[in-house]
Symmetry: C2
Subunit: 579 residues, 2 copies
């Protein structure tokens, strides 16, 4: 501190000065012409030109300096990258901090998963803050890899990067005041931590229950009306623009000069390829500007507001005393980062990291060996039928929801037979965490593959193995391949694995670099196109939500076909024609 | 929590509803028509009329409900009341929380003083938050009652009402990075606490040093330019409107819709009588509105913004999930509180507290017996002179500053003789804390009393005994009386104490009620008028700053006359005629 004070008072040279820039003043929503002076990782002055001396002087005439962007809510696992690698693709876009909910790995590996994530950020340039997963397992209608109780979560409080309790999704548990849920909420309150909400479709009246429970954010708003309701009720609204959910355009009309401080941006889930190509929050800022928002206000939502919401001290502004986390941009429309500075160090330039690729991460064996599929035979995949009418799951491409439809299906020798013509394929979920031995088989309509099978361990939220195929043999090969590569994504055609991406870290994340993973994903895409020549939706994404039993209409978990509307298991075959 | 959730979901009746009010929405700066529903001390809904059931329903047609006001910076001791009693005069005005710096009692009683203040808030209705005094003693040029080191302060961290480090005043110590000051700043940073500034007259460049030290507020701005400079540099500006300093009108032009979130209101010092008659932050809000500020914005500065600045969770808004701290007002111009609700309980109505007067507070003996004046004789007050030229302290009525003037004074038998005609009186400061035995005598111009003497132990920041008089005998009587009443305010005329107010708690605060104290203050005022028939300034206030050696031009401490410009002691007599 002594040295920074000395430097601020010009008794000691500063580290560097970026001169002649337009500097975003997120406190006044104005541009300031001047120099940014940095020392010891801190901004020590936004000064008149020539006022300071420094070891290094950089000219930024004609350019803008804006605070590093902060993602208010993300699940890093959705990028399939470990934090160390995620850092390398997001930071060059000017995203210098994220608040992540390690909910996916927690569902597979529990505490060991959280420990891994916290350990993996240790030498990472960007700031990665954590919210402690509040809903592991997601529901009691399936077998996940782990259970996290309030007592388990407590062990992580006190870590400097842990900010609070992650998105509270189990709204019946909150609104009914269920004991274990209250224990987690009380724990967070006791330590004065932030509690994130997940208020998808909740009514204004239900939000009251969330507020009574101390929940203070929502990233699930899809309309401006919902957003205003949340703000009126004292919540922060995290405007989401990710790979699956894109809510920015709908919510933006809710933001005014008077209430802007209660809004921020987040991605929630964003995939590797889109993160590499578009970035994350920089993209939301550019989109908001394209939609007519004042650039300074958009920048403020992406910086100061997140910092206030999560109480990130000295983050979110290019101003004296703040951490030197900022971006140099030339074009406010694209918000493309020419250079990214983190803690006073230039870490990326023209979209590339300046540091060498990191060592492979060290991962505990239990996380690296999370696959425990049973040996399966075609017997295990049989779906016995006495008639031919079935509850069929009809997918909605790229969406989380499904429809329940009643259809006549092909039956031979008392068993369901998939039909490529009718697009009625076999879908299976197999428990893969603890040799529980549970599995379920159902019929799905709308997948559209013409041959072969696909399988993955990215299967929200329990992340059991899920596979869909035109025939039992290829499904079995796909599952076997999944076991061999310790989880990931697999495409099988005519008895052979044609493409795969191993995700050995909990069956969710790769241990290779983003570039390598991207190449493998392209191969997978080719493999998919071979078995589905007219593919025009994100098959793996859609598949990954078919086992999430909190989203209507019907889903499949390792314990059977599940009617989300009735909130109970249902049989595949419809026996009673009156039903 | 379970019960509040049940009440929020209407499964259990709420406690009460205030119906048909206009409710201030400080998030959107809008008025909302509706009902405020309260349960268990929390606002569980701002609802449509008739939506909830409650034990009690109160009609507020034609009235406004606004959040309880929060004073961002005050020294409670300046009211001469202990927190328990202070609460009773401020809360009825709608001020439901204050952030206090117990700097005065700390200078007298050190840790015991802080402990007393923290203990005295225990059954108090309003929220009283503390900042830990950073500058005890104020300077090294005087003997205060205590020293508070970083180690001492550390003991108070963790108390739920302790928010941070109080106004850092010793700017040379900060800007030079002095060790003990850095230790306090680091301590506060280590615990993620707020650090208040005191940036009177600091240049924009000096503010950089304050920011480098992690200081994030300033309540000493006197111009809009200064205020904007602080905001640009990442500070909160606490707009002060107190008894002595009145900065609101000057700063208000700096506040815009874009930057309003970085402004709040404070009083710093406000006296008993003014607190009783005007209130505190309610007065600032009304004044801001009179000056043309949107009432909702003025309310926001007085509530949400302070809560954000000091991270007061669930404070500062009338919204779901917030603490039920609010005021019912009828007239937005006067902001007069018809009723005040705190934690869901009506605590005041029409300017009166509803609870009975509290028990007398329990105070440790060391605090109750803080007076240790030596036995003095006229010998002790002698000011020897060889010539007749003197450095005279010329007061500026009601101001903290003084002027140094060189004057010819009356001398008899080699000693200074006070002159009522020339208004050249004798001024003395006597150490009163630890029998150090130090005392100083000087000459003051401008006090204007025609006979007698006055004395007080309210004497910033060391709070030694200070007395001024027309003759030695009355000064001695005044000091003796101060000793007898264990500190306070004394007026003496013609050998007799004509009025006094005992402030037995550290010589700063009374243990009687505000009403009783006010009566005694009126008597003192009469006493003053007897010895100064044309009195038109606040004599005791002015006197109380004559021993504060950080304010120009010259001051007197127990160690002698002090030239603040030269920052050194100077003699009273000017010996060398060339000087």
């Amino acid at each position: 501190m002594k040295q920074i004070i000395d430097q601020s008072q010009k008794r000691v040279k500063a580290d560097f000065i970026i001169q002649h820039a337009q500097i975003a003043d997120v406190f006044n929503l104005r541009w300031r012409q001047g120099d940014v002076v940095v020392a010891n990782g801190k901004i020590i002055a936004v000064s008149e030109p020539g006022e300071f001396e420094a070891e290094q002087v950089i000219d930024a005439s004609g350019k803008y300096i804006v605070p590093g962007f902060i993602d208010a809510h993300i699940h890093i696992e959705s990028s399939m990258l470990v934090p160390k690698q995620f850092n390398r693709i997001v930071l060059p876009h000017g995203v210098t901090a994220v608040v992540t909910d390690p909910h996916e790995i927690a569902n597979v590996s529990g505490k060991a998963g959280l420990e891994f994530m916290l350990q993996d950020i240790e030498d990472v340039e960007m700031d990665i803050y954590f919210m402690l997963p509040s809903s592991v397992p997601g529901t009691s209608f399936e077998n996940a890899g782990a259970v996290l109780t309030a007592k388990d979560l407590k062990e992580f409080i006190g870590h400097k990067n842990v900010l609070g309790l992650a998105e509270v999704m189990d709204f019946p548990a909150v609104l009914n005041g269920e004991k274990e849920m209250l224990a987690k909420l009380k724990l967070a309150q006791e330590y004065g931590m932030v509690i994130d909400g997940h208020c998808a479709g909740l009514t204004s009246s239900q939000i009251r229950g969330y507020r009574a429970a101390g929940i203070s954010t929502d990233h699930e708003c899809v309309t401006a009306e919902e957003a205003l309701d949340r703000v009126e009720q004292g919540m922060y609204v995290l405007i989401r623009e990710g790979s699956a959910a894109k809510n920015l355009k709908a919510i933006l009309p809710a933001v005014t000069m008077a209430n802007a401080r209660r809004f921020a941006f987040c991605t929630d889930d964003k995939h590797l390829d889109e993160l590499m190509e578009q970035g994350s929050i920089n993209y939301a800022v550019a989109l908001a500007i394209a939609e007519g928002m004042d650039p300074l206000m958009a920048i403020q939502l992406a910086s100061l507001n997140v910092a206030e919401c999560y109480r990130l001290k000295n983050k979110g502004a290019v101003a004296t005393g703040y951490d030197a986390d900022f971006i140099v941009v030339e074009d406010l429309q694209t918000m493309k980062a020419l250079a990214v500075w983190k803690n006073g160090r230039k870490v990326a330039e023209n979209g590339e990291m300046l540091s060498p690729a990191p060592e492979k991460c060290i991962v505990e064996t239990s996380i690296l060996q999370s696959m425990h599929l049973p040996e399966l035979t075609v017997e295990d995949l049989r779906l016995p039928f006495t008639g031919n009418r079935a509850n069929v799951m009809k997918i909605v491409p790229n969406q989380l929801i499904t429809n329940r439809v009643e259809m006549e299906v092909d039956v031979a020798n008392g068993h369901f037979v998939p039909s490529i013509e009718k697009d009625l394929l076999k879908l299976t979920v197999v428990e893969r965490h603890h040799h529980v031995g549970t599995k379920a088989v159902a019929i799905v309509h709308g997948i559209g593959i013409q041959s072969g099978a696909v399988a993955t361990t990215i299967s929200h939220d329990s992340h059991n193995a899920i596979a869909v195929g035109t025939n039992d043999e290829d499904i079995l090969i796909a599952l076997k391949a999944l076991q061999e590569i310790q989880g990931g994504l697999v495409v099988v055609n005519e008895g052979e694995v044609t493409a795969s991406l191993s995700l050995p870290i909990a069956g969710l994340m790769t241990d290779i670099s983003a570039e390598q993973a991207k190449q493998k994903l392209e191969k997978l895409h080719e493999g998919l196109h071979t078995i589905h020549p007219t593919l025009d939706y994100h098959l793996f994404l859609t598949l990954s939500f078919l086992a999430l039993p909190v989203i209507p209409d019907i889903k499949i978990t390792d314990t059977g076909l599940f009617d989300v509307i009735k909130f109970e298991h249902i049989p595949v075959e419809i026996i009673n024609a009156d039903e």
